[in-house]
């Protein structure tokens, strides 16, 4: 189906482990984003990508790594998970042009670090 999908939907991991959250979109949108959603903070931008092999830091990038070797995939890796990274993570994609477009969101990944 067309759209943006995230996997896994739920993940529990231990402190210090590496974990990767996957994001896949079928629209061939140029832009992709990772956000984390925490109570009282709304959505904060972790990383974004303007195209394959082009990524840039957002508001809260520390402890996260991204890559984008293909337009449709934008995985987010927590190199050494900490409890403060317990959150709901949303991936989004967008195209950019005259008049702009909105960001389309995935269903989210609820990550718990114990």
């Amino acid at each position: 189906d067309a759209g943006i999908t995230q996997s896994p939907r739920y993940k529990i991991t231990e402190t210090g482990r590496q974990v990767t959250l996957m994001c896949h979109q079928t629209w061939s949108h140029s832009y992709m984003f990772w956000y984390r959603q925490d109570l009282g903070h709304g959505l904060r931008l972790i990383y974004y990508s303007a195209a394959a092999d082009i990524t840039d830091k957002g508001e809260v990038p520390d402890g996260y790594v991204v890559s984008r070797s293909k337009t449709e995939n934008f995985p987010l890796t927590l190199e050494s998970a900490t409890r403060s990274q317990t959150s709901v993570y949303f991936c989004a994609s967008s195209e950019f042009g005259q008049g702009g477009t909105e960001a389309f969101f995935g269903q989210g990944t609820r990550l718990t670090v114990v």
Partner: protein
């Protein structure tokens, strides 16, 4: 960096009451403005957006928003809320670099 402020963190209304949620942003250049809604347990969905033209924008489910450039505001309104409008509402802004910045959200609870 841009920032988005939503003044109301939690709003409780009775059905049929009118709604206005405030949103202010800080960015001096050209911006695109959005309101998203997140129903419990779901992802964010677009309610409405403003890019240019008429500053009064109409969206889905009877929502509208007014862009007031001089006040850097983009407030969301609905004349008569329903129980099904219970959700969290996020204001967002993006600019030429297409980074979307979100406010902290407003939780709306509509009592039947």
């Amino acid at each position: 960096a841009q920032s988005v402020s939503q003044h109301n963190h939690h709003v409780i209304l009775s059905e049929a009451a009118s709604l206005e949620l405030g949103c202010n942003y800080s960015y001096g250049g050209t911006v695109n403005l959005f309101w998203y809604v997140q129903y419990p347990g779901q992802h964010l969905q677009l309610l409405l957006k403003y890019f240019s033209g008429d500053p009064l924008v109409k969206g889905i489910k009877g929502f509208e928003a007014e862009f007031i450039k001089s006040k850097f505001s983009f407030n969301l309104r609905k004349p008569s809320v329903q129980w099904s409008d219970t959700a969290e509402y996020f204001c967002a802004v993006n600019s030429n670099f297409n980074k979307f910045y979100f406010g902290s959200g407003t939780k709306l609870n509509v009592k039947p």
